[in-house]
Symmetry: C2
Subunit: 143 residues, 2 copies
């Protein structure tokens, strides 16, 4: 069981952080990303392809090709990756799965979950990819 994102999304977050932490380098092949992060190569490749369509990363075909961050990493937030892969429905769904859970018809956890959800959203929007660089490098070097 994953915590709150799909496996695809977890991998996507890891991979994009990896690319952002290595902006200084050229395009990075899917094989390297897969190897460093222990993700199946074809799977991470697919995920990065889809993020290319979303405009978050670039891809370059052919020899010495690979993937790289598409724009200024100061302008990319983790929420962008989550939105592109899992979507944002988790931020307006009832935590217990009740339908029509809103302020007029709240489930027993509505208020408490509401606070948590707001903080979870902040967690994904407060910092940009550039600000995660060092932490990512430290984590990746210990995998």
């Amino acid at each position: 069981m994953t915590v709150m994102f799909s496996k695809k999304c977890e991998y996507g977050l890891q991979a994009v952080l990896y690319l952002a932490a290595h902006m200084d380098r050229d395009a990075i092949p899917a094989e390297e990303v897969a190897g460093k992060l222990s993700i199946p190569k074809e799977f991470v490749s697919k995920i990065l392809q889809s993020l290319t369509e979303s405009g978050i990363i670039n891809s370059r075909k052919g020899k010495s090709g690979g993937f790289s961050i598409a724009k200024d990493p100061k302008k990319i937030k983790l929420i962008d990756i989550v939105a592109a892969i899992d979507g944002l429905s988790m931020f307006n769904s009832c935590v217990m799965g009740f339908p029509n859970c809103d302020v007029n018809n709240p489930c027993p956890l509505h208020d408490k979950w509401g606070e948590l959800r707001t903080k979870a959203y902040s967690m994904l929007t407060d910092e940009n990819l550039d600000q995660f660089r060092e932490k990512t490098l430290r984590k990746v070097s210990n995998l």
Copy 2:
């Protein structure tokens, strides 16, 4: 996509809350629970069976049989249902799926997620089933 629990767990939480909110009545058949909560009957039946094995609810076979809360609802917390169905791994896994994510080798979100996780745990442990009774009745009456 569910928010943070599996569908099975969401249904389990809803169903147990329903039973707890109707403790005054006799055993409640799976069919009623399924109908009120719009959950497939056989599915909720399976879920309630498994919670019977976990000792959270009782079942009675035969005519006028059904399910009921097994013990004092003041002594049951939502976390008990989550633990029985999804397990507690979500409370010690990395939110981004990194391995070995701990204080010595944290992922970029480790600290922020740590706080959230603690609060999510509180959300499931602060109140007992009895305290959810009214809120549940209000919600269920508007489904």
